[in-house]
C-alpha cells in the first residue's frame, strides 16, 4: 500500500494516441520523494541531450508533489518539467491552484507526455476514464477561455484545467501554462506543450487519498495551520512590508509598492527611480488597485489569498486572475507610471499565456534597440504612436510570432544574436539565456552571487528565502529577530546573523565568509528542493522569512504521511540528491562553470577574485569538480552511481575521480 502518493503515473504518447497507467517504483519515492525529484529522474532517463526540446521525442511532465492533495496546508503545487527551448537546460516551474490535488484524487501522481499529436488535442482525465480529445475548435483561444470552454462543453465546473494560449501554440520561448489563478511560467514550458499539439489537460478526481499514520499526521498539520494563523497576524519586524508576511509576496493585498518601484530597475532593467513613490503616485496606485481587485483568492487548501480576481469593466477587459508581482512587471518594463496599464496588459498577456517576468523585458529590450537605431522603423511597421499601445502591439506580434515578434519570441538572448548589429550589448540581464528579475545593486552580495551563479532554476525568487536580504542595523534588533527563529537548521546560523553588520569588517562583500556563505546558500536551496519535491507552496516554506514549514517539522510530516521514515539528515540528503541530479541533467546538457555568471552590471562593486573563490568554495562544498560537475564520489555517495557512469561515458566527467577544486 502506498500512502500520500497514488503510486501510479500516466504515460501518454501523443503521436500514437497511446495511454498507459504505470505503477511506479516505491524505491524512487524513498530516494527522490516525488515532484521535481522524480521528474528529474524521468528526464535523466528519457531525455538525452540529442533530443530537441521542441521535437516529438521530448518529454513533458506534470507532477503533483509527494504531499500534494493531503491535508497539509498549501500542498497544492504542480511541478511541470521539460528541457527548455530557451535555456536548453532543464526547465521546471511550479504552479499553484487546484490541479495537482485533483490529479491525486483521480489516482495519479504524474502525467508524462511524449510524442506529438497529429492535430491539436486536449487530454481529459476523470478517474479511470482518460481520453485524448479533439481541440481544433480551441486553436488560437486564450488560456482562460480554453479552460472555460472545456468546462462548459463537458458540463463539469469541477474540472481543473491547465492550458496554453496562442503563445504556447506558436512555441514562443517564454510561453506559460496557465491554470486558474496560477501558471507555470518560467523557461518556456508552454512552448513545449504547444510543440506536442497539446492545448490543455482537464482533470477530475473523486478518489480517496490515504495517509499512513492518520492521527499523527493530522496533529502535525494542525500545528502548521496554527502557526500560519499566528504568523499571519504577527508580521516580521525590521523588514519591508512586502517581505514581512508569509505566502507569495502579498502584491494583491498590499498597495504599498515603495520597495519594488524604488529598488527594482525600470525599462530594460535599466533605470532606478528612487523618487518614484511620491504621495501622489501612491494615492493613484491605491485607487487603481482598489478599483481593479474584486476579491482575493487562494490556492487549494490554503488560507493565504495571494491571488486576486481582477475586473476592470471601465477598461473593457474581461475578468482574469492575477497573482504576485505581475501587476508591476509590465508597468515597470514599459516605464508607464499608471498602474491601470499593468492590469490591462497583464490580462491580455495571460490569455496569450506568456511569462510575466520575461515578456516585459523582451519588449523593453526591443524599445531600446529602436531608440539606438539597431531596429529601424521598417522593422516595426505598423507600430502605433501611443506609448502604451506600442506594448500591446509588441505583445500581439510576439504571441503570433509575426514580423519582429518572430525574433523577439525567442527571448532577449537569442533575439539579440539573431538581430546582431550590436544588439548583444543590450542583453545585459540574462543568466544562462534567461531573463532575470530587473534588479541592479551596489555592493556585491556573496550569498546572492552564489545563488544567481549556480541556481538550477535560473530564477532567484525560487532559490532565495529564509535569510533577511540585508543585515539589521543594531545588535539589539538582531537579537530580537533570532529569538523565535525556530526555522534555522542549527543554532550557529543565528550567530551568523547576529554577527552580520551593515558596515565595517563584518559586512558585504567579505561577510559572510565563503564557507558560511555556502552553508546559508545550501539551507535556502534545500528548502526549495524539499518544497518542489513535496509539492508545498514556497510561500509557506522556502520563500519567506520564518515560514510555517521548515527542516524540523517536515521530517515527521513526511514520515507520518508516507510511512517512510525520514529524519532531518535523510530528508536533507534526499533534497541534496535531487539538487545534484538536476545539476547532472544540466551538465549533460552542457552546463559548465563558464555559464555560472550573474550579469556584469548586477552589482556596481565587483570583486573578481573573491567571486572566483566563492564559486570554487561552493563547488567544493557540494562535492563538484572545478567545472561544476558532481564528482563520481559525490554521485555514488548520493546513490546516483548510474548517473556517474553515464556522465563518464559521455565524457562530461573523467574516469578517475578528479581532485577537488584547489582553493
Amino acid at each position: 500500500m502506498r500512502y500520500a502518493e497514488t503510486g501510479f503515473q500516466l504515460e501518454v504518447d501523443l503521436s500514437r494516441g497511446n495511454i498507459e497507467r504505470v505503477e511506479t517504483d516505491p524505491r524512487l519515492t524513498e530516494l527522490h520523494l516525488g515532484g521535481l525529484g522524480t521528474n528529474a529522474r524521468i528526464l535523466w532517463e528519457r531525455m538525452p541531450p540529442e533530443n530537441d526540446p521542441l521535437s516529438p521525442e521530448s518529454v513533458l511532465i506534470f507532477s503533483a508533489g509527494l504531499l500534494g492533495g493531503t491535508p497539509a496546508t498549501g500542498a497544492n503545487r504542480t511541478i511541470v518539467s521539460a528541457v527548455s527551448p530557451q535555456t536548453r537546460l532543464m526547465a521546471y516551474s511550479m504552479m499553484g491552484g487546484f490541479f495537482a490535488p485533483e490529479l491525486k484524487y483521480a489516482g495519479y501522481d504524474k502525467i508524462v507526455f511524449r510524442g506529438r499529436a497529429p492535430e491539436l488535442v486536449y487530454l481529459l482525465i476523470h478517474n479511470d476514464r482518460i481520453e485524448i480529445r479533439d481541440a481544433r475548435h480551441l486553436a488560437g483561444k486564450g488560456a482562460i477561455e480554453t479552460a472555460e470552454s472545456i468546462k462548459s462543453e463537458l458540463k463539469d465546473p469541477n474540472l481543473q484545467v491547465a492550458a496554453i494560449g496562442l503563445a504556447g501554440e506558436n512555441r514562443v520561448y517564454f510561453a506559460s501554462i496557465e491554470h486558474a489563478r496560477s501558471s507555470a511560467s518560467r523557461g518556456g514550458l508552454g512552448a513545449v506543450m504547444g510543440s506536442k499539439n497539446l492545448k490543455a489537460i482537464a482533470v477530475r478526481g473523486t478518489r480517496d487519498l490515504p495517509v499512513a499514520r492518520p492521527a499523527e499526521f493530522m496533529e502535525l498539520c494542525r500545528e502548521v495551520l496554527r502557526y500560519i494563523q499566528w504568523r499571519r497576524d504577527n508580521p516580521v519586524k525590521g523588514v519591508p512590508a512586502i517581505l514581512a508576511g508569509i505566502g507569495s509576496p502579498q502584491e494583491m493585498a498590499i498597495h504599498d509598492e515603495e520597495w519594488h518601484t524604488t529598488n527594482f530597475a525600470w525599462g530594460n532593467a535599466r533605470h532606478r527611480r528612487k523618487d518614484f513613490w511620491t504621495r501622489e503616485n501612491e494615492e493613484r496606485w491605491r485607487r487603481s488597485q482598489e478599483q481593479a481587485i474584486e476579491r482575493l483568492i487562494s490556492c487549494y487548501n490554503c488560507p493565504l489569498k495571494c491571488g486576486a480576481i481582477v475586473r476592470f469593466p471601465a477598461l473593457g477587459i474581461s475578468k482574469y486572475m492575477m497573482k504576485c508581482y505581475s501587476k508591476l512587471t509590465y508597468v515597470m518594463g514599459a516605464m508607464v507610471d499608471d498602474l491601470d496599464f499593468g492590469f490591462r496588459i497583464a490580462g491580455r498577456a495571460q490569455e496569450y499565456g506568456v511569462d510575466a517576468y520575461t515578456t516585459p523585458q523582451v519588449m523593453a529590450f526591443a524599445m531600446e534597440l529602436l531608440e539606438a537605431g539597431i531596429l529601424t522603423p521598417a522593422d516595426v511597421e505598423g507600430m502605433p504612436e501611443n506609448h502604451e499601445e506600442k506594448f500591446f502591439w509588441l505583445l500581439d506580434r510576439i504571441a503570433r510570432r509575426e514580423g519582429i515578434g518572430e525574433v523577439l519570441a525567442d527571448g532577449v538572448y537569442w533575439a539579440a544574436r539573431r538581430i546582431g548589429r550590436g544588439a548583444e550589448a543590450f542583453d545585459h540581464n540574462t543568466i544562462k539565456k534567461h531573463e532575470q528579475i530587473p534588479i541592479k545593486l551596489g555592493m556585491l552580495n556573496p550569498i546572492y552571487f552564489i545563488m544567481y551563479a549556480t541556481g538550477e532554476k535560473i530564477n532567484i525568487t525560487q532559490i532565495e528565502g529564509q535569510m533577511p536580504q540585508m543585515p539589521f542595523e543594531t545588535r539589539e534588533e538582531r537579537e530580537e529577530f533570532v529569538r523565535d527563529w525556530i526555522q534555522v537548521p542549527h543554532e550557529r546560523f543565528k550567530e551568523y546573523f547576529l554577527n552580520w553588520e551593515p558596515r565595517g569588517e563584518r559586512a558585504f562583500p567579505h561577510y559572510p565568509p565563503p564557507e558560511v556563505t555556502c552553508e546559508l546558500v545550501e539551507w535556502q536551496e534545500m528548502m526549495h528542493y524539499l518544497d518542489d519535491a513535496l509539492g508545498i507552496c514556497a510561500g509557506l516554506s522556502s520563500f519567506p522569512i520564518k515560514p510555517p514549514y521548515h527542516i524540523h517539522n517536515l521530517p515527521p510530516l513526511v514520515s507520518a504521511a508516507t510511512g517512510i521514515d525520514y529524519d532531518e539528515e535523510t530528508l536533507w540528503r534526499a533534497a541534496n540528491r535531487n539538487r545534484t541530479l538536476v545539476r547532472a541533467v544540466n551538465n549533460r546538457l552542457g552546463l559548465r562553470r563558464r555559464d555560472e555568471k550573474p550579469p556584469e552590471d548586477h552589482w556596481k562593486k565587483r570583486f573578481p577574485e573573491l567571486e572566483a573563490r566563492l564559486l570554487e568554495t561552493y563547488y567544493r562544498y557540494k562535492g563538484w569538480n572545478a567545472e561544476g560537475v558532481p564528482t563520481r564520489e559525490t554521485l555514488e555517495r548520493l546513490e546516483l552511481g548510474d548517473v556517474a557512469e553515464e556522465l563518464i561515458r559521455r565524457k562530461v566527467l573523467r574516469e578517475e575521480a578528479p581532485a577537488a577544486v584547489e582553493a
Binding site: P71, F98, T206, P214, Q229, R295, C302, P303, I309
Partner: protein
C-alpha cells in the same frame, strides 16, 4: 385540561457562512472528508465532503453549501437566484442530495451524504470545516432553545437503505440482503 406537548431543551448549532470572506480554498471540504474517513483522518477526498464550495471565480460566486436531507425525487420546481446582479446556478443554494445532480453523494456507491455537524463523543469544540477555515468565512455558534419533542431523526443506516431501495427497488434490495447474509454464514 389539555395535555401539554412535552418540551425539551435543544442545542441549536449554527454555522454562519460569510461568503464575502470565502477565498475558494476548499479547506473545508478537505477537513470534512478526512474527519469522516474510516479510520478517522485515514484519507481525504473532497468529493465525499458534506460541505461543498460551489465556486466560479470569474463570476465571483463563492457558496459553501452544506449537505442536507436526502430527497428520493427531484423537486417539481427549480430556483435560480440573482443577487446583486450575480446569477447563481440553478439549485445553487439547495442542500438536498437529490437525483437531479451529483452533489452530496458518495462518489462510488452514490449513497447520500449529510452534514452531521461532526457528531462525535466528546463533541468537537467546533466542527472540522469551521476549524480549518481560518479566514472566518465559516464560524460556529451554539444556543439553547426549548422545542417540542420530535421523533428521533432517521439514522445514517436507514437513510442509506432508503436510498438503495429507491435506486434498486425494495425487492432487489431484500434479495441482495438475503443472499449476502446466507453467504456470510459460516
Amino acid at each position: 385540561m389539555k395535555a401539554e406537548t412535552p418540551k425539551k431543551k435543544k442545542v441549536v448549532k449554527t454555522i454562519r457562512i460569510d461568503v464575502d470572506k470565502c477565498n475558494g480554498c476548499r479547506a473545508c471540504e478537505m477537513a470534512c472528508s478526512t474527519f469522516h474517513a474510516r479510520p478517522r483522518y485515514a484519507s481525504n477526498n473532497p468529493a465525499r465532503s458534506r460541505v461543498r464550495v460551489l465556486f466560479d471565480p470569474l463570476r465571483d460566486l463563492y457558496v459553501p453549501v452544506y449537505a442536507g436531507d436526502y430527497a428520493p425525487a427531484e423537486c417539481c420546481g427549480r430556483d435560480r437566484y440573482t443577487i446583486e446582479g450575480k446569477q447563481y446556478d440553478e439549485c445553487g443554494f439547495c442542500r438536498a442530495s437529490c437525483p437531479s445532480r451529483d452533489l452530496f453523494k458518495e462518489p462510488d456507491s452514490k449513497l447520500p451524504l449529510k452534514c452531521d455537524m461532526c457528531q462525535d463523543d466528546p463533541q468537537l469544540q467546533e466542527p472540522m470545516c469551521v476549524q480549518w477555515c481560518i479566514t472566518d468565512a465559516l464560524t460556529y455558534e451554539e444556543r439553547e432553545e426549548e422545542v417540542e419533542e420530535e421523533p428521533a431523526p432517521a439514522q445514517e443506516l436507514e437513510v442509506g437503505l432508503e436510498a438503495l431501495a429507491d435506486r434498486f427497488g425494495m425487492d432487489q434490495l431484500l434479495e441482495a440482503v438475503t443472499r449476502m447474509s446466507a453467504a456470510k454464514k459460516p
